[in-house]
């Protein structure tokens, strides 16, 4: 009985002593967002409080199991733990590393998936073309009835685009559509890559079928003229997203040394970095498609030059070569080394 009373007194004195400290830590953590830079003494004091809190929790878990004081301390220690071990936030620097270093490396690793995706897209494009060429009545599978009617009157559905919608709205709707197709091609990879496969195959079939249909009416050249400026980059981005989706499928089908869930998570984190680099190019493609592609003032040569130039920038970026162009990014002047020039060269005088 006496021992029990002593223990209760000890707990009481400990609680009374520490209660204010815990409230102090709680207040500090609540206002933590307003403080941008801490001075060293503040950090050291917090580290000490953190150690004290950790000891308090260990004690509470032993003498007050299942009590709300213990749960309160657990919550408080968890918050303090996050503040203590938080990684530094360098968003712009992380994006720069992703664009300059990670994207070329990851695309190199995914070369096989990329080749497979492009092959599927091209094969399905050819299949769609052959299908509509030999069975023209199947054109309705790939082009809408309105488009068929417009082409039958001797016009391409892209001819009057600017009369229907202003360039800016057109660009905006194209960008949102392309971004959603690209993201969808990527996330469908979680269905063991099959979703991505069907999406890429369908896009290839549609493109080939549409070209074969317009060829019947002698308008395939005009369709090519319309898409050449924006289409190369647009289709490249969709193919890359498809390859990333295939990568997700592969991680699920052949997880290797990791459990399937871990392999999937690692593949998503790896692939999402490439999306950060390539998706912004869809904004450029959308602007070209809204402002240049439907404008009759641009002839084939100009469109081809724009398309080629845009693709060149895209290719240089995803391969990382753009950062090595001395014309665009001259090397920084080296800082002077200690000692006299040539002192460390070891060359004979």
């Amino acid at each position: 009985m006496k021992q029990e009373n002593n223990q209760r007194e000890a707990i009481g004195s400990w609680l009374q002593r520490r209660h204010e400290r815990w409230q102090g830590i709680e207040r500090y953590l609540r206002t933590r967002g307003d403080i941008k830079y801490d001075d060293a003494s503040e950090v050291l004091q917090f580290a000490e409080e953190f150690r004290g809190l950790s000891n308090d929790l260990a004690l509470a878990q032993a003498v007050l199991p299942g009590n709300r004081i213990t749960r309160y301390l657990e919550t408080l220690l968890h918050q303090a733990h996050e503040t203590m071990y938080r990684k530094p936030e360098r968003l712009l620097r992380s994006i720069a590393v992703i664009v300059r270093t990670d994207t070329p490396r990851i695309l190199g690793e995914l070369r096989g998936a990329l080749q497979a995706t492009v092959s599927i897209f091209l094969c399905c494009g050819v299949a769609g073309w052959l299908l509509v060429h030999y069975f023209p009545e199947l054109a309705g599978l790939f082009v809408s009835e309105d488009m068929i009617n417009t082409v039958q009157t001797g016009k391409l559905w892209t001819d009057d685009l600017l009369n229907i919608l202003p360039s800016s709205v057109l660009s905006f709707s194209i960008i949102s559509n392309n971004v959603s197709v690209t993201l969808f091609a990527f996330v469908c990879g979680c269905l063991y890559g099959l979703g991505t496969f069907y999406l890429i195959a369908l896009n290839g079939l549609m493109l080939g079928g549409t070209f074969a249909f317009t060829r019947e009416y002698g308008m395939d050249g005009r369709l090519f003229e319309f898409i050449v400026a924006h289409g190369v980059v647009e289709l490249s981005v969709i193919c890359i997203a498809g390859a990333l989706g295939m990568g997700l499928g592969e991680a699920l089908a052949r997880p290797g040394i990791h459990p399937r869930a871990v392999a999937f998570r690692l593949a998503v984190h790896r692939s999402a970095k490439v999306l950060v680099t390539v998706v912004p190019f869809l904004i450029g493609a959308g602007i070209i498609e809204g402002f240049i592609s439907p404008d009759p003032r641009f002839d084939l040569l100009q469109r081809s030059l724009i398309g080629f130039g845009f693709f060149l920038v895209f290719w240089l970026t995803i391969t990382g070569r753009i950062w090595k162009l001395r014309l665009l990014f001259p090397p920084r002047a080296r800082t002077a080394t200690l000692g006299a020039p040539g002192a460390n060269s070891g060359s004979p005088a």
Binding site: Q61, G66, R71, T75, H78, F184, V187, H269
Partner: protein, 245 residues
């Protein structure tokens, strides 16, 4: 028994968080869905009311030189509010949204930390799949079937939803006072406070049953009364006495 996420800390103190189930997830989502819909509709209605004529002209116009500002001022922001609600708020509020706050849950990584912007964006990207075929059926099915009750977006991002425990100052003071003065076991002290906190939300029969069982467990004498109302009042009084109130 609720499932918990065990966290290994560098200093060796064991920490665990209660994992939120499909019910809490749905609760948070329904609140968030209504909030974002209401905000988007409020924007549409508010600006649409003031700029109705230009908006009508914009809808009917087929010329390139038509004024574009009604689209950018009225329609675009409403769409952005609806689409970007989750990713933007989750990043700004560190894994929380107003709906999640109200449901008492938040997003954490598998290590129990606040997820970074990248993980939160990935989580939201996979809504494209989770929301299929309609009303987040794939996401809900996954949350019901998986160990941590996560949807595909969470699996991809390495995140999960946990309950956020909030113990207010008054409740902590009550617990401290009990720990100092009471002879009850620590877990019973907590149970007592829990019963008293929920007393008003319980029906009379439940109050008598739960309160009576607690008094029986602690060895206190059960009050004898002929009427239920009197019995309930006496049990309540005894519980308050045990809590030192």
């Amino acid at each position: 028994m609720s499932e918990r996420l065990e966290i290994d800390t560098p200093d060796g103190t064991p920490l665990s968080l209660e994992i939120a189930g499909a019910g809490s997830r749905s609760h948070a989502f329904v609140i968030d869905w209504h909030i974002r819909l209401l905000f988007a509709l409020a924007w549409l209605a508010g600006f649409g009311f003031f700029f109705w004529q230009p908006l009508k002209q914009w809808f009917n116009s087929e010329q390139e030189n038509a004024a574009m500002w009604p689209f950018y001022v009225v329609l675009l922001p409403a769409g952005l509010i609806y689409l970007l609600y989750h990713p933007v708020l989750e990043i700004l509020l560190q894994g929380r949204t107003p709906g999640k706050r109200m449901a008492g849950v938040r997003i954490v990584t598998l290590r129990g930390e606040t997820p970074g912007a990248g993980a939160l964006l990935i989580r939201n990207l996979f809504r494209l799949i989770d929301s299929l075929p309609t009303a987040y059926m794939i996401g809900l099915a996954c949350a019901l079937c998986t160990r941590h009750h996560v949807r595909i977006g969470d699996m991809a991002a390495g995140t999960l939803l946990v309950h956020e425990e909030k113990i207010d100052r008054e409740s902590l003071q009550d617990a401290t006072r009990l720990a100092i003065d009471s002879r009850l076991a620590p877990a019973d002290q907590d149970l007592l406070l829990e019963i008293l906190e929920r007393w008003k939300t319980l029906e009379r029969k439940s109050r008598i049953s739960i309160g009576g069982r607690f008094l029986e467990k602690t060895g206190a004498a059960l009050p004898a009364a002929d009427k239920e109302s009197r019995m309930e009042a006496q049990i309540h009084r005894q519980l308050l006495k045990l809590a030192g109130k």
